[in-house]
Amino acid sequence: MVFSSLEFMFLYFPVVLLLYFVTPLKWRNVTLFVTSLIFYGWGEPLYVFLMLATITVDYFFGWMVGKYRESNRKRARAYMVAAIVINLAILGFFKYANLVVDTITALTGVTLTHIDVPLPVGISFYTFQALSYVIDVYRMDANAQKNYTAFGTYVTLFPQLIAGPIVRYKDVDDQLRSRTHSMERFASGVRTLAAGMGKKVLLANAAGEIWARISEAPETTVAAAWLGIIMYTFQIYFDFSGYSDMAIGLGKMMGFSFRENFYYPYMANSVTDFWRRWHISLSTWFREYVYIPLGGNRKGRGRQIFNLLAVWFLTGLWHGASWNFVTWGLYYFVLLMLEKTFLLKLLDKLPKFVAHIYTLITVVFGWLLFVFTDFSAGMRYLATMFGFGRATGFIDAGGVFDWTSSLILLAILIIASTPYPKKLLYKLWEKYDAPVRAVTAVLCLAVFFIALAYLVNSSYNPFLYYRF
């Protein structure tokens, strides 16, 4: 189930809210655990058992790691490694087996059969959460969770289950034991949920619809191709950050506080800066559980470069079982290395807007590698942007129509990508609390209302993370 759907908003969520708040405080994790399993099993009911198996394995290994981490470090480490291997094996089987099959076929010509199982939704997100738990316990950053439902709640918690943010165990350890619920917190959660819903349903879908039409047309023009990839650039940001906001908002309503996942990535002045702002929970995870354990920058220049290479290879691969994602990851590895060696210093000397434009262009071309799983299709689109490929000319009537009919949307997308609206809101809110509160409330309800209209008559409402 996805948040931006009628069955979530008007079937699942009202029931969950009701159950959650009538459940006595002590038992609320049980309610959350059970309802989250239903959320998970909605599309693929049988995978509930896979989920329960994952939880049980990590619960057990986490317990063992906790038991031995002081008395017998070696043994604790063995349990941790076993947990990591099992989790990655499950992820590997369901997500990457067919990539291995295809790659072997392509390289050797030996034809192997595909493993015909659907990808469990959100597996990359919850596997990383489960891993963070066992590792945090081993590192003494958190205690083992002896309460099965509390641990199950952490892994399955429906707000962040299928599209993140990836919550590290140590960040929510306390919240699983006790959280504060209040009307103000709930109201704040509703506001965040509204913001996320608006981003996903009103902005991302609108941009995505234009991208889908242009990218699927057998012929197009240079101007339309540029509009298309610009629209995709906005779609992926508002879709993803919209999901994160909805998750954070839903969490807040139930007393959780998750960390932010996006911070105006398209305001970045370098690729390095971009990755501090984009999908922060994923970069943080890779830094803490891959880069630093590999030695980070503490083992010399050569080793650092290797560590970064590993991180970016894996970051790419995490986004989907297809080599284009790896290419996309390595593209950023190269850019980040260039920035580390000289480019950052150069960018510092240049006017800010030059650095900003450089970053935007780099990111936009990155999305070309990301969005086309078929590399040659991506290259053909790139060629089209420069007058080759599928381009029939610079612009045609349909292109003019697409551009003129997108102008207002584009303006909204650009403004919504900057921090200025929010900054203004903060300022006004600090000055005039009551009026701003009232106006925000009306705006949020209006967003829900209009988003609802778009969900009822949805021509285009994709879930982009089914590959993750």
Binding site: M1, S5, L6, E7, F10, L11, P14, L17, W42, G43, P45, L46, S182, M183, E184, R185, A187, S188, A217, P218, R259, E260, F262, Y263, T272, R276, R277, S283, T284, I292, N297, L308, V311, L336, A397, G398, V400, F401, T404, S405, S406, I408, L409, K422, Y426, W429, E430, D433, A434, R437, A438, A441, C444, L445, F448, L452, A453, V456, N457, S459
Partner: protein, 409 residues
């Protein structure tokens, strides 16, 4: 990435939460009101959804609405049950028609100029957006039609092939100037080329009708993809002239308003339910009830050309000869010996029947539904002439005309 700073975003989120949590009594009241309104929206719609009776058909959208899916464990496990629930919710959502309207209005407010793939032209003209040309279908269809026309000619049955335009071909002057007829021209050029390759002469009804529309005549519906009865009259005039017949002058008809509340198919797709309806006319003439329309499919027949029961339904255009059927005959009562015309058609031809029937007995076949050999009808009914009247959309959207090859020796 090792030197990542303390996340600024988390500090900002904390700051916002502090502001939001820090209000006084008034703030508490406002927050409470906000939460109650939000919960009311959520629960009220959820309850209404289950409480309200389900509709089976949407008049506004002209489509069957999904009903509550049957529950079986098998369907739950393979995921089809929950997928159907999603569709069921969207189709039966309380106020669905209203929300569709809200969405259409928002799209137009954003300056998009279209909704659900329908372009909004001047004066409430709705035109389906179509910018691609399916050359393959065009070629397959036209070569089959050419083969059939040749076969007719070889059997002593003169053949005429007439193609009418879509709204986009005839009403494009209501669209922005730069948009104009570019895509329409591309499609008709492609058709002309394909027809030339198939050695098939085509009577094009696009430009004459466009000229009339541009001059302000009401020849195509604004909310439907068909031509009006006036448009059908002009189309028939061109066709009959080509066949060496003379159509009765326009002034000889009594124009009767059949319905002034005709909301067409494009209107249903566009979701803009504030757009005013079209007027549908019947062109009556003395003795026009002395004809019998027989729907051979089910053996029913009625006097004249109109099944007026459709006028109370959404699909009013189907009142012309009773809508889409595989095989229909229209004959004049009284046994007068008249030539027989085999009319191979799509729904555009329905409103031309009152004009054609004054000159011929009609054998009307829709090969999308007629599963037997069309060629066999020529001998069966002693056909004297053949007319294929299609909208150009029928040549590109599918390759159904290849069925015409069935039974050609």
């Amino acid at each position: 990435m090792a030197d990542m700073k303390t996340p600024e975003c988390d500090r900002e989120a904390a700051r916002l939460l502090t502001i939001q949590m820090g209000g006084g009594k008034k703030a508490q009241f406002l927050d409470r009101a906000f939460v109650i309104l939000f919960a009311a929206l959520l629960f009220a719609l959820a309850i209404l959804f289950w409480a309200l009776p389900d509709r089976t058909f949407s008049e506004t959208e002209n489509k069957d609405l999904t009903q509550l899916p049957p529950f079986t464990v098998k369907r739950l496990i393979d995921g089809s049950y929950t997928a159907d629930i999603a569709e069921y919710m969207a189709d039966q959502f309380p106020g669905r028609d209203f929300f569709i309207r809200v969405k259409a209005a928002s799209e137009l407010a954003l300056g998009k100029g279209s909704n659900n793939g329908v372009l909004f032209g001047e004066d409430g003209t709705l035109i389906p957006r179509s910018e691609t040309v399916n050359t393959e279908n065009l070629r397959d269809n036209l070569s089959a039609i050419a083969a059939f026309a040749d076969w007719c000619e070889n059997h002593g049955v003169p053949a005429t092939v007439a193609i009418s335009g879509r709204s986009a071909d005839v009403l494009h002057h209501t669209l922005p100037d730069y948009y104009g007829s570019a895509y329409s021209d591309a499609l008709w050029t492609a058709m002309d080329e394909a027809a030339a390759d198939a050695d098939l002469p085509i009577l094009s009804l696009r430009d004459p009708l466009h000229e009339r529309a541009k001059a302000g005549e009401y020849v195509y519906y604004r909310t439907d993809h068909h031509w009006t009865t006036l448009g059908a009259y002009y189309g028939s005039e061109i066709i009959l002239t080509e066949m060496g017949e003379t159509i009765a002058p326009l002034a000889s008809y009594t124009r009767e308003t059949a319905s002034d509340a005709f909301f067409g198919t494009t209107w249903s797709t566009a979701g803009a339910s504030w757009i005013a309806p079209d007027t549908m006319e019947y062109f009556r003439f003395a003795g026009d009830t002395d004809f019998t329309t027989t729907i051979v499919d089910n053996g029913t027949s009625f006097a004249g050309f109109y099944d007026t029961s459709y006028l109370t339904k959404k699909d009013k255009y189907s009142s012309f000869i009773g809508g889409n059927n595989a095989l229909v005959t229209v004959t004049k009562n009284g046994g007068e010996d008249r030539p027989t015309l085999l009319l191979i058609k799509d729904s555009f031809a329905h409103s031309t029947v009152p004009f054609l029937a004054q000159h011929f007995d009609l054998i009307i076949v829709d090969i999308r539904y007629y599963k037997k050999s069309t060629a066999a009808l020529v001998d069966e009914y002693g056909v004297d002439r053949m007319l294929l009247l299609y909208n150009i959309d029928s040549l590109t959207s599918s390759a159904s005309s290849v069925l015409l090859r069935a039974g050609l020796q």
